[in-house]
Symmetry: C2
Subunit: 296 residues, 2 copies
């Protein structure tokens, strides 16, 4: 079978491409490190041809999500505004030179108050809904910028982004705490203890971070323990901030295992059960749902 | 008049030296960028001779505070443990080759639970107490790592370090928010609005940081406004964390103007009046108080 169209998840740092057959079957998958952050608007088509040139012999349509649709991307796909349909209807076509090729870009979603934005996650949500029709609840997508998204009646009602992932990276790699934190390893008890502290008393976060450093100097606390403690403090604070999202709701966690683990542990400790789904699978399912819209 | 002794504030990044006459008068002041972080234990004496060689013709005593007394410094001056006397009695002498020279290093203070440490600030506290005998209350020392210190009956009772200064630097210079935050400038209303939010609802901090980025993308909010908003969110969270320190207490703020400003504004908005003192002046006064102990 030959590729009929190409699905693309084109983010800031990386891009992933899938070749799809006429019957929807997956024929191939390729990645590139030519993310949006390294490209001018005029350079995207060249990267596509470079990575997927042979697929383009038969595929004449590309459907892409992610930062490729930002103002600094290939073409700006203006945000939809909440509340809005999950499945992206307002795709934008990117300028291309190759005859017969059409590139559709899925728009992100914005929220006016409190201000928030997503680009790429809306496609994972569409994929999750495609595989779980009629699902109602909150989808949590852990990552550098974790999204908590309230979905109801196939609409994104509201969402909230938390930067705990980026804060963890900054604190463990660039702050004074880096001297006291192991690069890898985990301590479940320390994680849960710290998480309980900031979840029950979120006002303590600002005061508890430096004590990570002090605990090593004063008590010679193990650096693996301190790594789990930083994670716990941040996840506890995030769960305190997002309580209106997860309390008493069905929760779906869409993300890779490593980044999802502290969220699963934290929510489980609060008595919340979550269903899991893989982020890459949901992205592809969402792009397929968007492609299906083109054919109707 | 010739220098009788030398006062030194030797931190991680910089060092400052003062020549003091026999009657306690200040005869000169010099700085160096040879901070503790760049020196091996054996190199401190050479830097002292390089920067203050002529003073050492007549001065035979040095009294130093700061990271010079850490494990990685010239000589480790073991922490005193709270509660402890403000004026440092347990100075340690550093190894020197020069005949007739004695170098005294002021110890830092540690707290076992919650774990916390200071090195250098104890000397500013001693200076403030020397100039304000019998003072009882909380001394706040704004900086990269702000210290809140409860002082009573000439003792340090307890203290709390907050990393808001370092977090502000990380967020504005290294996080995704850097794209949305001006390098300088201030917006008083935005600062107070954000500070009120996290002071009254500290659990919101984790969710409000990313909205700084989103506010620029969605509402095109001015980057100077967003700079003040980040500061307000962090100071509000710190004031929530340190409420037991400042509520209903006399507060002394020891710090430079730029770094003290948001704390003064924040505390004032809570109806707290503060007295101010300059950090450099308090350091020198504290070293003088330590030197006076040597002569008794």
């Amino acid at each position: 079978m030959t590729p009929k169209w190409i699905a693309a998840d084109w983010g800031t740092s990386n891009a992933r491409f899938w070749a799809i057959g006429g019957d929807g079957s997956l024929l191939g998958e390729r990645t590139s490190d030519k993310g949006m952050g390294t490209l001018d608007a005029t350079e995207f088509e060249g990267v596509l041809a470079e990575v997927c040139g042979d697929w383009l012999d038969t595929a004449n349509t590309v459907v892409a999500c992610g930062m490729v649709g930002s103002r600094q991307g290939w073409v700006e796909a203006p945000y939809q505004t909440t509340p809005c349909a999950v499945c992206p209807a307002k795709m934008v076509t990117a300028p291309v030179k190759r005859a017969g090729l059409t590139v559709h870009v899925i728009p992100g979603i914005r929220q006016m108050e409190p201000a928030d934005v997503m680009r790429g996650e809306e496609t994972q949500i569409a994929g999750f809904l495609a595989e779980n029709p009629g699902w109602d609840g909150v989808i949590c997508m852990p990552g550098t910028h974790t999204k908590w998204v309230h979905v109801s009646a196939d609409e994104v009602i509201s969402f909230q982004t938390c930067m705990s992932g980026e804060l963890f990276a900054l604190l463990t790699q660039h702050s004074v705490l880096r001297h006291s934190i192991a690069d890898t390893g985990w301590d479940d008890a320390a994680f849960h203890d710290a998480m309980s502290q900031t979840l029950s008393r979120p006002e303590g976060l600002a005061g508890r971070l430096f004590s990570i450093r002090a605990a090593q100097l004063v008590n010679d606390t193990d650096t693996v323990t301190l790594r789990a403690r930083v994670s716990g403090l941040l996840i506890g604070a995030e769960l305190a901030a997002t309580k209106p999202y997860w309390l008493g709701r069905d929760i779906a966690l869409v993300g890779a295992d490593a980044v999802s683990m502290p969220y699963v542990a934290g929510l489980k400790a609060q008595g919340v059960t979550v269903v899991r789904a893989d982020a890459k699978d949901m992205t592809l399912a969402g792009i397929k749902a968007a492609h299906a819209l083109l054919e109707t």
